[in-house]
Structures are given as C-alpha cells and as structure tokens.
Amino acid sequence: MSVLVEGFLPLPFRTLFFREIHRFFIVINQTLLAPVISALLYLFIFGFSLGSRFGSFHGHSYIHFLIPGLVMMGLVNNSFQNPSSSLMISKFEGNIVDILMAPIGHAEIIAGYMLGGMFRGLLVGTCILAASCLFGLPPFAHPLYLILVALLSAALFSLAGVTAGIWAEKFDDLALFPTFIITPLTYLGGVFYSIDTLPPFWRNVSLFNPLLYMINALRYGFLGVSDVDPAWSLAALSIVAVVLFGVCLQMLRSGYRLRK
C-alpha cells in the first residue's frame, strides 16, 4: 500500500506563499491602498508645503530626499504586518493547526510567510514610488544596489513579523512592535531629515538606529549619497536577516508558543 503525494516538497510551500498573497489582496483597502495614500499625504505636506524650507541634500531636492525614506517606511511596515497579523489571526481563529498538522518543513513555513510579507512590502514600496511620479521621480543612481537593499529590508522585516507573530499571544502584544519599535525607529531614522542636521550627541545616538542604515541604503540606491557607509548597511542587513531566520527556525523547531 502506498500514498501518492504529487509535488510533495514544493507545493505545500507554494500554497502557503500564495495563501499569504491572496489573503492580503482580499483586504486590499487596508493592506495596499491605505499605506500608499498615507505616503502621498506625507509627500504633499512635507514635499510641497514644507519642503522648500529644508533646502537641498547633497544637491538633490527635498522631495527626492523624502521619497526613498517613504518607500522604505511603507516597505518595512507592510513586510512586518503581513506575516505578523496573518499568524496572529491564524492563532486567534485556530487555523494555525492547518499549518502545524500539515507535512510542511519548518524552513518552508518560514519562507512561505517571509516571501508573502516581502511581496506585500515590495508591492507597497513600488506603489508609493509609482505614486510619487506626481511629484517627480528621483534618479536611480545604483539600481542593483537599490533592488538588493529593498529585498533584504523586506526579508528582514518579514522575518521580524514572523518572530513577532509566533511570540504574540494576543493582538495587544503585536501592537507593541509598530507602536514602540518600528514607527519611532522609522521616524527617527532619517525618513524626513538628514542626521547631519542633528546636534552631534543626537547624531551619534541615531547611529544606533538600524532603520537609519536601511533608509540611507535605499537613499544611496536612488540618489547615490548617504549619511552612512552603504557597504556596511548591506552587510548589516544581510547578517540580521540570517540571524532572524535562525531565530524563527528555532522557534518552529521547538514549537515555541505554537505546539504544547
């Protein structure tokens, strides 16, 4: 007697990945349109109304300075939110057992959630960039570097979302991350200003903010200028993403907060 299982290894992973994408398209108003509208408002207020007061950044207009920051803000927020809220809702509704009882490997589960989050983050980032055409697109100084940074940033925050989704036991736990970590670090990471404008003490403090490196790395990809070393940014992003993947893997292997 035997059981035939077609496409045994890849199909469960592909199913999870497409489920994650399908899920956020079902609620597209809140997952895609809302962050794009928010970014457009920032562009309008800071770019048009206040931008002229900030002067230029290494010869680039303020609005060109702002666009990479807003793209990164949308990208990291949505990369994080997709897996974290999907996992939390699955735990709340109980359907997480569908994944836990299925013949899917731990790494495949992480990859499925991660790629789903990356897809949403990159889609939101791309839409923000497309919408910013209204205000004049920034140049693409280092396109390959830009794509690499976007992919790594999306992966890193998707993995952070997976970690948070596994860790959180209630929606209130999950709310800690955007409220107390991601939003403050994003706003203080140079989305709206260059850290060169800060007093020396706060400039040095800002160097401990990981979002600063991500935002500036993306900015380097667009404008060719950055507050920090772009090579170091890329290396740090890669290392943290690998570490987070390892953390997720260990959580799933041990059954942390998923299996009793």
């Binding site: 007697m1 035997s2 059981v3 035939l4 299982v5 999870l16 057992v97 009882m101 299925a102 059954g255």
Partner: protein
Amino acid sequence: MKKISIPDPPVPAIEVRGAAKSYGTVRALDGITLSIPRGELFGLLGPNGAGKSTLINLLTGLVRRDAGEVRIFGYDVDRDYRITRALLGAVPQELVYDHFFTVRQTLKIQSGYYGVTGNGPWIDELLDRLELKEHEGKTIRQLSGGMKRRLLVAKAMVHQPPILILDEPTAGVDVALRRSLWNLVRQVHAAGTTVVLTTHYLDEAEELCERVGIIHRGVFVALDRKDALMRQIQHRKVTLEFASPQPRLPAPLAEMGASLSADGASATLLVDRGDGSLQRLFEILGRGQIALADLQVEGAGLEDVFLQLTDEKRRPDAAGRIAAGSAP
C-alpha cells in the same frame, strides 16, 4: 511526485508506547500504550480532561510528548514528521476557521498543504457528501456551526489519508446530519481507512466502533472490543408490565428491590447476571401469581461501562483489574 510507502502488516497504523505528557503539575497522559491495526474503527472515550485530545494531538504533532514513542505506520512522528502528517487527516475538536476564504478555496488550500493538486472531482464529491455544495462560495463566517463542523471533516479528508482522526466530529451537529456523518465514516472505513473517533456521544461509539479505549486521568481504564466491554457489565434492567394496574408492589418483587411506576402499570428492577437474582425473578414469575402483559430485559450499553469505569466512587478495584486484563 513523491511516493510514501506504507509498510505491509503487521506494522500497525498507530502505535503509542509509554507516552507521557504533563502540563505543569497536571499529568495529562501517564504512560499510555496503544496499538491500532490498520483498517480498524477505534473509539477513544473518556470524560472531559481525561487526556483524549492530548493523545490525539500527540499523533498529529500539535503536542510534544515528555516520554514514550509514537509511530504512524512505523514512521516516527518526530523524526519522519512530514511522512506521518501526510498519512493523517484530523478533525480538531475546536471549530477552527479561516474567515478570509470561501469553502472551496479552503479545501483547495488544504489540499495544497498536503501536496495534492488537481483533486477537483474529489472536492466536489466531499462537498456533495457533506451537503456543502450549495455553500461552496460562502466564506466561513457565513456558515452555521454544523456546516463549519462538516467543513472541518472535509478538510481532514481532502487528501484522502489512510488514517482519519475525528475529535468530537458531531458536536453541535443536528441528528440528521449526524447520521449522514456516521454513514460517511462507515464508507471511508469500509474503503480501508483506519479511523480513530473520540466522542462524548456514547451511542455514536456504540454504533460505529469495533474497539474502544476508555481513558481516565491519563491512563486507559478499559481497552477492548466493544462487545467484550459491554459483557463486563453484570446487571440487566428488567421491566415488568402488569396485566392490570397494581395498587401496590407485589411482595416478592419488593423483596428484590423493584420499584412500581406511578400509575401501577409496571415495575422495574435491576438483576445481576452473576448472583442468581435473574433466576430468582423467573421463579417468582413462574408461580403464576403475578399476571404479566409484557416483559423487557435491557442489556448494558457502552454508557454503563463508561460510567462504571469513570465514576470515582464505583471504580476502585474493578477498573484496575479491567485495565490490567485487557490492555494489549
């Protein structure tokens, strides 16, 4: 395409050896040993909190055991988890749902998780059999409790597993649908699927199961064929319907502990097969002093076995003897 080969008999479908699991200070499973041969329809009974779901969840991998060994068709549930999970289909006790997707989408996603594709005709058949066809475009929130329960059954069966585990599958389902679910279980079982059923409805286990395990406080207090278990219950309930209503209970029946119905039309008493009381009753009736219109003798049901074995006041030594004598 990957082929999972299932070893030929005598490898059992499910084998649990010395499985133990504690939640803090609560011992949910205390060294459980169980072997379910392929093709059996096994009933797992027990009061709330007895350890039934913990045992089920050891098989599915939702619970990690503290000690012991669990094998599905000879494959270890930890080391070979991808294989063992592909071989199982499980209906969880809780009503789990995914509100984003419709019934059909849910079944397609579930198929994908198990590596199965192109199974549209089987999904159609499941929807038909479980009376969900007309609801296939609805999201889960639009379904009634009974429909959600049936969808869980469909999900468990969507990859046509050789072992089907049903943890309280008919809870909250109306009588007609309960019967149709029973028929489905019978059909699946007749096709060679090994079925493990936990239920609070003892008539369900009595109706469907070939062998029954009664679990209490993390150990089996009974594990035997259903009819063998029921034979262990000694008493019979006898109802005597009088030819004409009696103003008072006839003295010989009163001596045997019978009770008269309010209208005097009948009397009921419990007789024990082992102490000669059944023979004494027939001697009394044989004297012809009590005119009867009818007589009914009711045998013990699974409910009697269950109550005897799980009732703390009645259980002490007898239960221990049954468990020790009948465990494989």
